[in-house]
């Protein structure tokens, strides 16, 4: 997977409620610009909203990086949610539907994973968390995980 030539990443702070709304808005703009359909846009924005809220609530804030990517002819959008918070101690548990420490529904990580094509979490206790997701444009061949 490569960053699309001639396109720079957009970096947005995630430190407040208003930042979540702004992040959703920016993800929508980026997805629409790439030609994502309405359902795909909605899924990606919803996943972004869940993950950005995790960054804010569990990570104590951080940033979102929006990057257009390419893999052969496939085009997509990569979103990275980065925080320097306490990290996730038990990732497998955190990925379980219904598991929550934040008073929510516990669908943030597990639900967001179902909405996107690629999903990766890098975390270690005390070392912060980075969640990276990729959505490929529908109709394009989707690269298998591990070949990118």
């Amino acid at each position: 997977m490569q960053t699309s030539p001639g396109t720079a990443a957009t970096i947005l702070p995630i430190g407040s409620d208003a930042d979540l709304a702004w992040a959703r808005h920016q993800v929508r703009q980026a997805a629409a610009a790439l030609g994502f359909g309405l359902v795909q846009q909605t899924k990606l924005i919803t996943a972004a909203s869940e993950l950005a809220r995790n960054t804010l609530v569990h990570g104590g804030g951080g940033h979102l990086e929006i990057t257009p990517v390419a893999h052969g002819k496939a085009r997509g959008l990569r979103l990275s949610f980065v925080d320097t918070g306490p990290g996730i101690r038990d990732l497998e548990l955190a990925m379980t539907d219904g598991y929550t420490t934040g008073g929510g529904l516990g669908l943030g990580l597990s639900g967001a994973r179902r909405l996107v094509h690629e999903f990766r979490v890098d975390t270690r206790p005390g070392g912060g968390t980075t969640v990276t997701v990729v959505m490929w444009l529908a109709g394009m061949p989707v690269p298998r995980p591990g070949t990118g």
């Binding site: 208003a18 709304a21 909605t42 919803t46 909203s49 529904l105 669908l107 179902r114």
Partner: protein, 141 residues
Amino acid sequence: MSVPSPGYAAPVPVLALGDVLLVTLQGDLHDDTAERLRQDLTRRIARHSGGRVTGVVIDISGVEVVDSYLGRVLAEIAASARLLAARTVLTGMRPAVAITLVELGLTLPGLLTALDVERALELLSGPDPAGARAPDAEGGG
């Protein structure tokens, strides 16, 4: 597609139509706006000046994204309303939002839905199958 206002932080207006409260959500809701709506609605159901509130209609046809936070707030509004003897009907959900909510794992059980406000009002004018009780109050002996 209209460009949603990125900063919908203003309070959401609540309209009284007879014994039904109507709320129309538009654009992108901030978390605290949704939370304020929940408190506002619950208060208005509890002490409605013109008599009792029997129903709440929440129209989300202007909402492009419902995440688990907003979904939870909507479900909690319905649950509180139910405890105060009022039914809540969610109307106008966009197809893309419905598809996304199911994949997210948020199917909002217990929330009545209708395709539009007119049909929601029809639904509310009919008999309440659960009576005026909260569903949880059943079977307690």
